[in-house]
């Protein structure tokens, strides 16, 4: 609490300033308290200190006195907090290194802050008493001088001054103002010095403060390091999933190229051959020409079916037109193994990439079930689940069968491709497939992806 006397206006207002009255109150209460408890503390310490070399019994007494000093420090901190509003932090007393009364006593004896409190008891008693009495005397004399014009006329004092009455009145009033001011200044500075003294002697030591700050800085550094480490790991994971996504996309393109080359293109070439045969045979062997045309017709139908399958593999039209629910039903209907589909929540709230990922997960899983699992039934569930701690909702798809298990997302497999696709959406991919215990594939992707 700095005095309000800095700045010219503050100085002029000093006698009527709130800080002055707070200072007076603090000094008055402090004077009473310090002259009783404070005096008792440092007398106790001084006496037990004096008894140490004489009787040796002084050491326990000294420890008790220091405990008393600690209690006194606590009351002083509380008193200053109430009267001045300045909160002085309590120091951490040293802890005994071992159990037992001797280490405990030793811990008290080497508590430098208890010794500082003792010093405070002495210095503050002197300071506060002096300040308090000075304020009282100055204020009293100022009051007397202010009242002098009322009662001083014709007194010996007035006569002894030997000045005309009017000049005496002016002088008395002037003195009252100056003395009142002085009382205000002493009250504010006295209170200010008490607080400064309390901060330096009753608070934690500078070394302890530095230690606390250092520990806080260390904690902050550890947190920052952990954050940086987390970010680094996240970056590594993202780089990995990005690479996996690129790889998955690449594998997908290769698959489409192979499918087109080995499928539709071959069929079209064969179709061309058939039509050529038909044309060449048209004149000389109409029956052969008709047979070739029949071949060509079958070829066209097969090509169309193959193209339809291929296009569905790239992006299923039913997903765009009628949503994930209908698309999953269509997948279930095509599966040779009986499939039950359950959905929960509004699947339409999931974004197109999330829905497409869910669709292809189920498509691939059902293909695998049909090919490898030897299962009697499959259960597909799709649900929009609200994520914990306020994170955005996620689309969860589970494909569970009762087949032979033992599935693995081997590199280059369809499952590995899906894992890459899911990873690219920041999703999770969990394959649980104990041998003989069925397969359960759980995939979650953020709806917003």
């Amino acid at each position: 609490m700095a005095p309000a006397l800095t700045g010219s206006m503050g100085f002029l207002r000093a006698p009527v300033d709130g800080a002055t009255w707070r200072g007076v109150a603090q000094l008055a209460v402090g004077a009473v308290w310090l002259l009783t408890f404070g005096l008792a503390v440092w007398v106790c310490v001084a006496v037990s200190l004096a008894l140490v070399p004489v009787l040796g019994a002084g050491l326990p007494l000294l420890a008790l006195s220091l405990l008393l000093a600690r209690g006194f420090a606590a009351t002083e901190r509380a008193r200053l907090a109430v009267t001045t509003g300045v909160a002085v932090r309590a120091p951490q007393p040293p802890v005994a290194e071992r159990p037992g009364w001797w280490p405990a006593m030793w811990a008290v004896l080497r508590d430098t802050r208890a010794w500082a409190a003792t010093a405070y008891a002495f210095v503050a008693t002197v300071l506060v008493s002096l300040a308090c009495w000075t304020v009282v005397v100055l204020a009293g004399v100022a009051l007397a001088a202010a009242g002098f014009p009322l009662y001083g006329r014709g007194t010996d004092l007035a006569a002894s001054l030997g000045a005309p009455w009017s000049l005496t009145v002016a002088g008395a009033l002037g003195a009252a103002v100056v003395l009142g001011w002085a009382a205000a200044v002493v009250a504010q500075y006295g209170s200010y010095l008490t607080v400064r003294l309390a901060v330096s002697l009753l608070g934690p030591s500078a070394a302890a403060e530095a230690g606390v700050r250092a520990r806080a800085a260390e904690r902050a550094a550890r947190v920052a390091e952990a954050t940086a480490h987390g970010a680094q790991e996240r970056a590594a994971v993202l780089a990995q999933t990005r690479a996996a996504a690129l790889e998955a996309a690449d594998a997908e393109r290769r698959r489409i190229e192979r499918d087109l080359h080995d499928g539709a293109q071959q069929r079209l070439v064969a179709l061309g051959v058939d039509l050529g045969v038909a044309r060449r045979a048209a004149d000389r062997d109409p029956a052969a020409a008709v047979a070739a045309l029949g071949h060509a017709h079958d070829e066209v139908k097969a090509t169309l079916a193959e193209l339809r399958d291929l296009v569905r593999g790239i992006h299923p039209a039913v997903l765009t037109d009628r949503g994930l629910d209908a698309a999953l039903s269509a997948l279930a209907a095509r599966s040779p193994v009986p499939v039950r589909v359950d959905t929960a929540g509004d699947l339409a709230t999931a974004g197109p990439p999330a829905q497409a990922a869910a669709y292809f997960v189920v498509a691939e899983a059902l293909t695998n079930v049909a090919k490898h699992a030897d299962a009697a039934r499959v259960h597909v569930t799709a649900a929009v689940v609200p994520a914990a701690d306020g994170a955005p909702p996620r689309l969860r798809v589970v494909v569970a069968d009762d087949g032979r298990g033992g599935a693995a997302a081997a590199p280059g497999s369809g499952l590995a491709g899906l894992r890459g696709r899911v990873g690219a959406l920041d999703g999770t991919f969990d394959l649980d497939s104990p041998t003989g215990g069925g397969t359960r594939l759980t995939v979650e992707v953020p709806c917003a992806s």
């Binding site: 069929r267 064969a270 061309g272 051959v273 039509l275 044309r279 060449r280 052969a288």
Partner: protein, 220 residues
């Protein structure tokens, strides 16, 4: 004539078999390059009049067919081979033609759909001629850096492409609808401008042209 086909696609193998059988040929089909090589290298095997082989075949689906063709040609340099390729690859063409261009053809698989062209190519190769797919020639010319090409007139470039495809002078004349003497004049001019020796037969000429293009090709 007797024709052996090496083709892994059942569809195409069936189609080609029907086509060639309808044309009065005797056809024997194989689904892998290995099977083809085994059949043609058996002690009592009679060489066919023509081998038609796909480049991309099992097990690795890369260039098994081409390897088989090169291998069989090294055993029987006179065996007529028509190679069908899924796509144009200059490296394949160079490998194939490295040992000579006589009775050798390299065409895109899609050309098979153009039945007349395919039958003509098969016939030409079986009779000892050379067929190079126009696509391959275009690609090689596009990659040829030599400024010598710039000195050719447009007509001469057309003639050069047809020469590279393996056509004879009369074939070129027919294709461009010009007289034979005009084609002969263009050919002499082209060979002169490119610094190639005059070659009497068509397949030697193809080889010279292809080799020249390859030497001047941008291999980067």
């Amino acid at each position: 004539m007797r024709i052996v086909i090496a083709e892994d696609s059942v569809l195409l193998l069936d189609g080609l078999t029907r086509l060639l059988t309808a044309e009065g040929h005797v056809v024997e089909g194989h689904r892998t390059a290995d099977a083809t090589v085994r059949a043609l290298t058996a002690p009592d095997a009679a060489l066919p009049d023509l081998l038609v082989t796909d480049v991309r075949m099992p097990p690795s689906h890369t260039d098994e067919g081409l390897r088989a063709a090169v291998h069989l040609r090294s055993l029987h340099p006179r065996l007529p081979v028509l190679v069908l390729s899924q796509y144009v690859e200059q490296r394949y063409a160079s490998e194939l033609f490295a040992a000579g261009a006589r009775a050798l053809g390299y065409v895109l698989k899609d050309r098979v759909a153009d039945v007349d062209m395919f039958l003509t190519a098969a016939d030409r190769v079986a009779r000892g001629g050379t067929v190079v797919d126009p696509e391959v020639v275009t690609q090689i010319i596009a990659r040829t850096r030599s400024t010598d090409l710039d000195r050719l007139t447009r007509r001469e470039r057309e003639v050069l492409e047809l020469m590279a495809e393996g056509r004879s002078n009369s074939g070129i004349a027919e294709r461009l609808v010009v007289g034979l003497p005009a084609v002969e004049k263009h050919v002499t001019s082209i060979l002169d401008k490119l610094g190639l020796p005059p070659a009497p037969d068509d397949h030697r000429r193809v080889l010279a042209v292809l080799r020249w293009m390859e030497q001047n090709g941008d291999r980067s």
